[in-house]
Symmetry: C2
Subunit: 448 residues, 2 copies
């Protein structure tokens, strides 16, 4: 069957106008690569870029090699075009995942090179790396070398890139198909003889994929003390590098956000005194309102037990102490687990182990505080009130530590920032359940 | 008057045995430098090091130059001696400050070179840099150059130090008296012609003094994106460098501690699952107890108002909501200000400005929440109760934001870690005062 290429080209343009990208993708599968190249040649620059970007990765590599060099560079410009970028940015995230296969590793850095940070941001939508991924923060301006090159050849490459490379102090070492096979520092190059092959002096490379979160890649870079971490595609082909100063900026931003959320405020985007009062208020008021609305739960719980309270007003005296201790215990657990998650000491799937550990810690803390608090209360007030307070402390601490420990785990499983879910929410939740426990124990012990 | 050098030597040895270091210092002022050199020659290695270390800086420079080279190196070994280090480590901090003048900048890095991290830790006591200062974390293994050297001469220096220097990518540029006059990167050296003087390609250097806190130096290094920050003495003479990977480690440790303290736990020193349950409990129990003891204040406040509570049990219903909102508002302010302090956006002396801003924020938040909460309560319960709740929310929010904002400021003025003082303490404090305000307003409005 022969295909009329002119008809096909028009059909594809119509599908693009209708934004039916799935249809475009399907149509391209009906023709062979040579025919596809002819179609691409006939399309205007923007449409050509869109069709090309919708090809599966293997096909994209094949087609790119068959394009003539002028058209190759034209295609790259098309992919950098603001309007094309806007089209892909508008894609529904789910569509984006199945429609946009990974771009060939040879193309990805070329697409990003020479762009301003703003343009780069835009173009990274075309690359398909998700928001918050290191693919959006990496630099394409690296200097790489090959395992079989000599030190002298490599130094020549370094000298050529002294002006524009992001860093020349760490060089990823590649094989013929751009796979990262090692890493070599400028220091090692200076130490070695000029005719030595790079393979003899390179060391094993740690890498991150472009799809990983920027924070985890940044932490890897910083923890290993690397000046630059190679960023690779799913087949470990080099697409960029993350330098340590960028890694630091990513981590710093993450810390500021975590710290803010832990205290129930939105992070400020500028220095404290440069932030208008209105903004300070608005970073706090929403959280405060949400928490206050949550706290109306405690009012409702207490109304339920109002009769009990009237019979024994003394019970009201211990309400702030008991819910405060519960809140503190929950906060402690949440803080520890949130930090452990941020440092990758604990992974989301460890939820069962964390639950058991925190329950253990909570029971220990509750036994200690319960015995102490119960005894003192028994001496100052009455033995029965002491029993109520002691038992409540035991129950509240065990419950609070467990909830505080697993809340951040649940958050990170739901891919929500664990710090958002943690301290203020836990406090509110623990407050209400703690009150229920308190009055149930009181009714049981005091028989009212 | 001639001095009998043998008598003098014996007198000094006796003073050292008595640990009368002020006496040693005083005795050395009675003789001229030539005589002092003779005395030093007569002393055993350890005592020689002790006497030398007690000399004022200018005198120490003068004397060191007059010692013969063998004795100079012997003196350095003496200052590195574990026993000598132990003696200076035992000094009372106040004594240390006035007794130990800064060591000459030429000597400081020499003292630290070639030592293991543990030995270096010990020897830094001899240097006199306070705990937590960058002087204790810097590396003496830097490569420096001179402004008048050529690029070729500098590259020769780099090549000689490829094996042992901490970094060869950033070189401080010094003048004749070791003052830092600039900084030059290996990249700039590679770009320049071999006969160009360093002064033509160097750029202005940012430095920190060895006495500054490690965290502030680390932040400077990271914020400026420097691979190495020169560390200088009080006269801007180079004594070491802080590399970016060490800077990162210092900041990371600081963050972990801040985050832990903010949640009321002691930082874990190892990964979560590697920490025994006993340790998890002990990192939390002390804080929890302290906070619980603080919370007994709320029990006392409530006992004072027990009669009021008996007359209007309905007041008890709003206790958790009111103190919870106060605690949240206080935490928000504390979190924002603590972070701003950590980022150097706010300095300890800005306490007045912070107080005013936070009072303003608190009044805004209190007005919003008070109006809303008061209206709803008035509709659900009684108008008078609504008035009480509304006014209390206004008062508690204003007070909590102010206290939350200035507590970290006070802590950093007292040179206590602001994060220690912040969230949990504020909550407890705000709880108790909030209750007093609540019942006073209630008594006034309800006339009971």
């Amino acid at each position: 069957m022969t295909v009329d290429l002119i008809d096909l080209t028009q059909a594809i343009q119509a599908l693009i106008n209708d934004r039916d990208f799935a249809g475009v993708l399907e149509t391209t599968t009906t023709v062979n690569s040579d025919e596809l190249v002819s179609v691409l040649e006939r399309l205007p620059t923007d449409d050509r870029a869109i069709v090309y970007r919708l090809l599966p990765k293997d096909r994209a590599i094949e087609v790119f090699e068959r394009l003539d060099p002028g058209l190759q560079s034209d295609l790259i410009h098309g992919l950098q075009d603001a309007e094309v970028a806007a089209i892909f940015a508008d894609l529904d995230p789910d569509d984006r995942v199945w429609l946009l296969d990974e771009l060939p590793a040879a193309l990805a850095p070329q697409l990003l090179r020479g762009l301003s940070p703003k343009e780069r941001q835009l173009t990274s939508e075309v690359l398909g790396y998700p928001k918050g991924s290191v693919g959006r923060r990496m630099s394409p301006e690296y200097v790489s070398t090959r395992a079989e090159y000599t030190v002298a050849q490599t130094m020549e490459r370094v000298h050529r890139r002294l002006d524009d490379a992001e860093t020349v102090y760490t060089l990823p070492v590649l094989d013929d198909s751009r796979h990262v096979v090692g890493i070599v520092g400028l220091r090692e190059l200076l130490k070695a003889a000029g005719d030595q092959p790079v393979s003899q002096i390179m060391s094993r490379a740690s890498v991150s994929t472009a799809y990983q979160s920027a924070e985890s890649a940044a932490r890897k870079c910083a923890d290993l003390g690397l000046l630059a971490l190679p960023i690779v595609d799913k087949e470990t082909r080099l697409v960029g590098v993350l330098t340590i100063d960028d890694a630091f900026r990513i981590l710093e931003q993450g810390e500021t956000e975590d710290s803010a959320r832990q205290g129930g405020v939105e992070p400020l985007r500028r220095p404290y005194f440069a932030t208008p009062l209105r903004t300070l208020v608005s970073t706090r008021v929403v959280w405060l309102l949400v928490l206050a609305i949550g706290a109306t739960l405690t009012v409702q719980v207490l109304s339920v037990f109002e009769a009990t309270l009237e019979q024994a007003t003394v019970l009201a005296l211990f309400v702030p102490l008991l819910i405060g201790t519960g809140g503190n215990t929950g906060n402690q657990a949440a803080t520890t687990v949130t930090r452990a998650l941020a440092l990758d000491d604990v992974r989301p799937r460890d939820i069962g182990r964390v639950l058991l550990r925190e329950l253990g810690v909570g029971v220990c803390l509750g036994s200690l505080l319960g015995t102490l608090g119960g005894t003192i209360t028994a001496l100052v007030y009455q033995p029965k009130i002491g029993l109520v307070v002691g038992l409540t402390l035991l129950a509240v601490c065990s419950m609070a530590a467990t909830i505080g420990g697993i809340m951040p785990m649940i958050a990170s499983r739901l891919r929500v920032d664990p710090a958002v879910f943690s301290n203020p929410f836990i406090t509110t939740f623990v407050d209400a359940t703690g009150l229920v426990v308190y009055f149930l124990i009181a009714k049981l012990v005091l028989q009212i």
